[in-house]
């Protein structure tokens, strides 16, 4: 033969081998790649946040310059500013460390006290007894070449004139109200607290009238007020005292403040040193002299009690010394705390300490950027330092995903899934427990139906049925496996669910009637089968009698429903259910799921059981029958135990199918993430949750990654299940390998 041809053939063969091996490996790569991809998308949830020092420089002025009372930084971390004690605001270009602009606030009165509600908004108290609310805003502009310039603007939003309070205030908090009104709370000498409210009302002529009110808040003269917090709407005032009291006042009626709650925060009566309202104004962050940061909100004292009191909800970081200041983030539920020069950033919901650090020289002033991505600090040595924070997923932790969390406005800690709501200050609730529970619940009910049906059906088809029946019944069941799940889901939700809703009692009657009818039939059959001709039916023709039996049970249940309903349930079964069994009956309930998912799973169990029974050698069967066992005894006591690994494999594979099935549960359950095993309501499963939520999840956001986490959990579930099934199948194969 031509050597060239041979050579070429060998070459082709060599390369073909390479390519084909590569193809085999590709499958392996595919599975591993999938796992890696899922893990990669999930991992950032659990990475610890980090900070980076961007720049540091000393403030440019000498010794005799006024002290800084406030700092601020824009969200791009480019422009910073500081307000000094004589009321000058100075803007700095942080990258070049130069002052770019300065302006006098309120014609240069000396500032005696500064309070901040959030970044870039300051309540300033002046030396002449007046006060003002100042806001610094930054606006980014883009020119044609997409170059960014940031413009800053300083605005005095509200001003409380001197003499509004009965004494010179030590500290004033101002909140703007609608129509130019405002609420101002002042701490006066002698431990007095005064509220000054200005309400602007527009009458029907279109002119506005201004009413101002001044009221005293009762305080214990011996118990020094150490911190104040006023919410954005100006109707809730929180006080913290030297003796550890936490007080909440309702300022809804400006003339008559009402005490909502007063309690000693900690049993040891430690002094409270700092207060701040967490973003959303539901929760109050409290810092105490022992360095503990905690958050509180109004919740029932004990579960079930109607009375709400300020309750300790989350314990955040603890420092060694007293908390000097607390600043909330305006992005999420994070709180920044400062104690003895150490700064920590904690997220309230997840109770995660995101960042903790102390600068070489203790920090005395700091400012949080609006986006929560940076911190500008001023230390004792008068150096300004800018840090960038990277904490993309602060709201998640193992406790949030798998544990009970006490969410805002909930009465007790609970497992909750609620990923979004209409407002920005919403607390996302990412508990995967209700979803995992939903997946398991759906699977459980599906298996309750599918396992007996599939196994018994396969036993009949494999052992007792005629060849002819086998040749069409097996493919028929196999073909039902191909019915797209979207069709089953649609039928279950829009066809089966209303029917079942109408015939609910009939369904339960059927469960009783079918077995009793069958037993009754068997009693008669025992007599009838003495007839030789009738007995021939037991030669694989049982179905001719079983089908009428089944149908008559269905008809009988339907016929009996109105009667039974009238006799036992006062004419309305659902009313009875509502009164005695469950309060939340759902048309798309677990019975529907049981049928629909069960129908999907049956073919798997059926086929695997059938295969397993076929793989048991005929000699075993022959031996059993020869020893005088009946056909059922042979099947049940000889064949089934031998085939059991295959059965288990089928059941487990079916379970894997049911856990991961998406369309059926998406359509035929109500998709409410509740934890309730009841037969009469629905669920939300991990898989349906992914389908529901992923279109609305911003890419690389927390929700997006949590959904990948749930996909990873599903992957893990099925991996486990498949491996177990494979083990069972392996043992079956090994057992009968020699036959």
């Amino acid at each position: 033969m031509d050597q060239a041809v041979l050579k070429r053939n060998r070459k082709v063969d060599y390369w073909a081998k390479k390519v084909i091996s590569l193809g085999g490996v590709a499958i392996l790569v595919c599975v591993i790649g999938m796992l890696v991809m899922l893990v990669m998308q999930t991992a950032p949830l659990f990475l610890s946040p980090h900070k980076k020092e961007l720049t540091a420089f000393a403030l440019p002025n000498g010794n005799n310059t006024p002290e800084a009372v406030a700092l601020g930084v824009d969200e791009y971390l480019e422009t910073g500013y500081w307000i000094d004690s004589v009321g000058t605001i100075r803007f700095l270009d942080l990258q070049r460390a130069v002052e770019t602009d300065h302006q006098k606030l309120f014609s240069g009165l000396g500032i005696t006290k500064m309070r901040t509600y959030g970044p870039n908004s300051f309540s300033l108290t002046f030396a002449d007894g007046s006060a003002g609310l100042v806001e610094v805003t930054f606006a980014a502009h883009f020119d044609e070449n997409s170059q960014r310039t940031i413009e800053h603007q300083t605005k005095v939003i509200r001003q409380v004139p001197a003499g509004s309070f009965s004494q010179f205030p030590l500290e004033v908090l101002i909140r703007p109200l609608e129509n130019n009104g405002m609420a101002a709370v002042a701490l006066l000498p002698g431990n007095r607290v005064e509220v000054w409210t200005e309400v602007v009302e527009e009458n029907f002529l279109g002119t506005s009238e201004t009413h101002s009110f001044k009221t005293q808040i009762q305080t214990d003269p011996k118990d020094l007020v150490t911190a104040l917090a006023l919410n954005k709407k100006g109707d809730r005032l929180y006080l913290a005292t030297q003796n550890g009291k936490l007080v909440l006042w309702n300022l809804n009626n400006p003339e008559e403040p009402a005490l909502i709650d007063m309690r000693t925060a900690f049993a040891d009566g430690r002094a409270l040193t700092s207060l701040a309202l967490v973003y959303g104004d539901e929760s109050l962050a409290v810092g105490d002299e022992k360095g503990q940061v905690t958050t509180w909100f109004m919740a029932p004292e004990a579960s079930g009690s109607p009375q709400k009191r300020l309750t300790l909800i989350h314990r955040l970081s603890s420092h060694k010394t007293e908390i000097q200041s607390l600043v909330p983030s305006l992005r999420n539920k994070a709180v920044l705390s400062l104690a003895a020069g150490t700064v920590t950033l904690d997220h309230m919901t997840s109770e995660r300490e995101l960042i903790r650090f102390s600068a070489p020289s203790p920090i005395k002033q700091f400012a949080f950027s609006t986006r929560g991505n940076g911190l500008l600090g001023l230390d004792q040595a008068n150096r300004l330092t800018l840090w960038a924070f990277d904490a993309p997923h602060p709201e998640g932790s193992w406790m949030v995903y798998f544990g009970k969390v006490h969410y805002e406005s909930y009465s007790a800690p609970d497992y909750v899934w609620q990923s979004s709501a209409g407002t920005d200050d919403f607390e996302p609730k990412f508990s995967l427990v209700p979803l995992i529970f939903g997946s398991l619940k759906g699977t459980l009910y599906a298996m309750l139906f599918a396992v007996p049906m599939g196994i018994f059906g396969a036993i009949y088809t494999n052992q007792f049925a005629s060849r002819r029946f086998q040749t069409w019944a097996k493919p028929a069941v196999e073909i039902t496996a191909a019915v797209p799940s979207v069709i089953i889901g649609f039928l279950a939700a829009l066809w089966l669910a209303p029917i079942l809703d109408r015939w609910l009692l009939g369904f339960f009657l059927f469960l009783v009637i079918l077995p009793s009818l069958t037993l009754l039939f068997l009693v008669y059959w025992a007599q009838a089968r003495t007839n030789k001709k009738l007995r021939l039916i037991e030669q694989s023709k049982e179905l001719y009698l079983a089908l009428p039996l089944l149908l008559s049970a269905v008809l009988l249940s339907a016929w009996l429903q109105p009667q039974v309903e009238l006799w036992f349930f006062g004419g309305d079964f659902k009313q009875w259910l509502y009164a005695y069994v469950t309060k939340d009956y759902d048309q798309r309930n677990s019975i529907v799921i049981s049928f629909a998912l069960g129908f999907m799973v049956i073919p798997f169990i059926f086929t695997m059981t059938d295969d397993a029974l076929s793989s048991v050698p005929d000699s075993l069967r022959a031996a059993s029958v020869a020893l005088g066992a009946s056909r059922w005894q042979t099947t049940w006591k000889v064949l089934l135990p031998s085939a059991s690994p295959g059965l288990f494999a089928g059941v487990i594979l079916g379970m894997g199918r049911a856990i991961g099935e998406t369309m059926v549960v998406l359509m035929a359950t109500g998709n409410t993430p509740i934890i309730d095993i009841s037969l009469f309501n629905g669920m939300r499963t991990l898989s349906a949750n992914i389908a529901v939520e992923i279109p609305e999840a911003p890419v690389d956001g927390s929700l997006y990654r949590v959904l990948f986490l749930s996909a990873l959990i599903l992957f893990g579930f099925t991996f486990l299940i498949n491996s177990i099934a494979e083990l069972f199948r392996y043992s079956l194969r090994k057992k009968y390998a020699e036959f």
Binding site: G24, F456, A473, I479, I487, A526, G660, N722
Partner: protein, 539 residues
């Protein structure tokens, strides 16, 4: 009774034997398989009856109530009120624009009479669903004097409709051309902002914009003119309604129709189902884009799934030596088969769309960013995802097929001096090809019915354009697409009027179920015939 004692003992013995032998369990297992088959049959029957019946023109009943009101509509079903003996009927009364309800429940004991007047007319409209009522008069500037009846001016309306659709097609073509020039300009400007050709393109665009504006105004003009042909109808209660002919899709007199006429009507509806676009947010009209989308999806998926599956199976059966590697691949295949489809979907989203697609965009279409080209869901990514999802089906079928080829044949080929690859290509694969084909068909039918991963990777409710058309490069795999399965979910669950949309959902269901079941049964039939030829252990 001489031996009652012994007879009793005999009966007792029989009873014991009965429980011991467990014959009753045989009956329970019979009931199980009966139940399974009955359920499958019910599913088939429900889908078939509802699906086939959806387009049948049923008679319109004029229902007069004792209190005086009258309703006109199709009687959908009769049922009993819960907890009472009263019968009630559900009537599809249509006329959504007048009543804002499509269906009404009427208690039979309130009904005075039900008649079927000959002259009632049913309109299928372009919006607001069906109209049932009576024709009063027709208006048209071009109406021949003395002519009356809807038939007389139907031709005029038809003309106006063709005219309008022609204008719209022109508009669309113009817009598409402008878009392609705009993209070219974008590309040019990105590569070389100083290119002298930019000005030329800008000029062309501006000129085309002027043409576009005139076309728009011509279309508006035609739309206004078309309103001149209209007919006046009255509903059962005598409320009058003017409906322009262009808004009427079809009219018929259901109570006058003979059986052949009904069959003809049915045939036209079926034709429309397969070859026209959907109307009224998918609840009426055809399925053409969804059918095309599904077919393209399945075929594109084949390009991923078939080669990968066959090669992997060949590797495991023919090439791999027993060892850790082949064991690992086997475990991988088993796990691939068990991974839930939604997990595939989310994987496709992260890997294909954001990673691969985003990469393609950054490299090849940077000028269009931030508008994504491949970095968003589309046919290509959906079918790649489905392709990986169906690989195990192909692998299992191919492995079985290869296993069924006797090894003597391989040895014979090798002994004659053929290389392993030649043996594979010339002997083994041709012999096993029929069974491999069954695997392909199974994979395609699985892919056709899978919806969950598509929802994440690019299926849409209404795609503006097909993924295949007459503009180069003909296949636009980056486009979003419609799909029969998603159509079922979307129309059945997301449409504003689920009850009115049900017939359409059942038709779609019947179509999808038919296609999937036919493909599956064909492959199972083939496989079973093949099994007889080469018997091999499947376990």
């Amino acid at each position: 009774m001489p031996s009652s004692e012994s007879e009793k003992a005999f009966v007792r013995g029989e009873a014991k034997k009965f429980w011991r032998e467990g014959e009753y369990n045989v009956w329970f297992s019979t009931l199980s398989i009966g139940g399974i088959l009955l359920m499958a049959l019910t599913l088939l029957v429900v889908v078939t009856i509802n699906g086939l019946g959806a387009f049948w023109p049923s008679k319109l009943a004029l229902i007069k109530l004792k209190e005086g009101t009258t309703y006109l509509g199709e009687i959908e079903q009769t049922s009993r009120q819960p907890n009472s003996k009263e019968q009630r009927i559900q009537v599809k009364i249509g006329n959504r624009d007048l009543y804002s309800l499509d269906f009404k429940w009427i208690n039979l004991d309130e009904v005075e009479s039900i008649t079927y007047p000959e002259e009632v007319i049913a309109l299928e409209r372009e919006e607001y669903g069906n109209f049932y009522g009576f024709l009063k008069e027709v208006h048209s500037p071009d109406l021949a004097s003395g002519a009356s009846g809807l038939e007389a001016i139907w031709g005029l309306g038809d003309q106006a409709k063709t005219n309008l659709s022609k204008l719209s097609a022109e508009l669309r073509a113009q817009a598409e051309e402008m878009e392609s020039i705009r993209l070219r300009r974008l590309d040019l400007a990105y590569k070389n902002p100083q290119s002298p050709r930019l000005a030329g393109l800008d000029k062309t665009l501006a000129e085309m914009g002027v043409v576009f504006e005139t076309q728009v105004s011509a279309q508006e003009q035609a739309a206004v003119e078309s309103q001149a042909h209209y007919a006046l109808f009255a509903d059962a209660g005598g409320r009058e309604k003017e409906i322009p002919l262009v808004k009427i899709h079809r009219f018929y007199y259901p109570n006058q129709m003979s059986l052949p006429a009904k069959l003809g009507h049915y045939a036209v509806r079926i034709y429309e189902l397969f070859f026209t676009e959907p109307r009224e947010s998918n609840t009426e009209g055809g399925l053409f884009p969804a059918i095309v989308g599904t077919v393209i999806l399945v075929f594109t998926m084949s390009f991923v799934s078939f080669p990968l599956g066959v090669v992997a199976a060949v590797y495991m059966r023919e090439y791999a030596r027993k060892g850790v590697m082949v064991q690992a691949v086997r475990v991988a295949v088993n796990n691939l088969a068990g991974i839930p489809s939604i997990v595939w979907g989310i994987f496709g989203l992260a890997f294909f769309i954001y990673f691969v697609g985003g990469g393609i965009d950054a490299f090849f279409f940077p000028e269009r960013l931030p508008t994504p080209t491949f970095g968003t869901g589309g046919v290509l990514w959906a079918s790649s995802t489905l392709g990986l999802l169906t690989v195990p089906v192909v692998i299992v079928a191919t492995e079985e097929a290869l296993g069924s080829v006797p090894s003597e044949i391989r040895h014979g080929s090798l002994a004659l001096g053929a290389t392993q690859f030649q043996t594979l290509m010339r002997v083994v694969l041709p012999m096993s090809s029929p069974r491999i084909m069954t695997g392909f068909i199974l994979a395609m039918s699985r892919a056709a019915g899978e919806v969950a991963p598509l929802m994440i990777t690019g299926v849409v409710k209404l795609a503006p354009s097909l993924p295949i058309d007459l503009h180069a490069p003909f296949f636009h795999l980056e486009r979003k697409f419609m799909h029969l399965g998603f159509h079922i979910y979307d129309v059945g669950f997301q449409s504003p009027n689920v009850e009115a949309a049900k017939p359409m959902v059942f038709v779609t269901t019947l179509l999808l179920l038919g296609v999937v079941l036919l493909m599956t049964s064909f492959s199972i039939f083939l496989r079973n015939r093949m099994k007889k030829r080469f018997t091999g252990r499947t376990f």
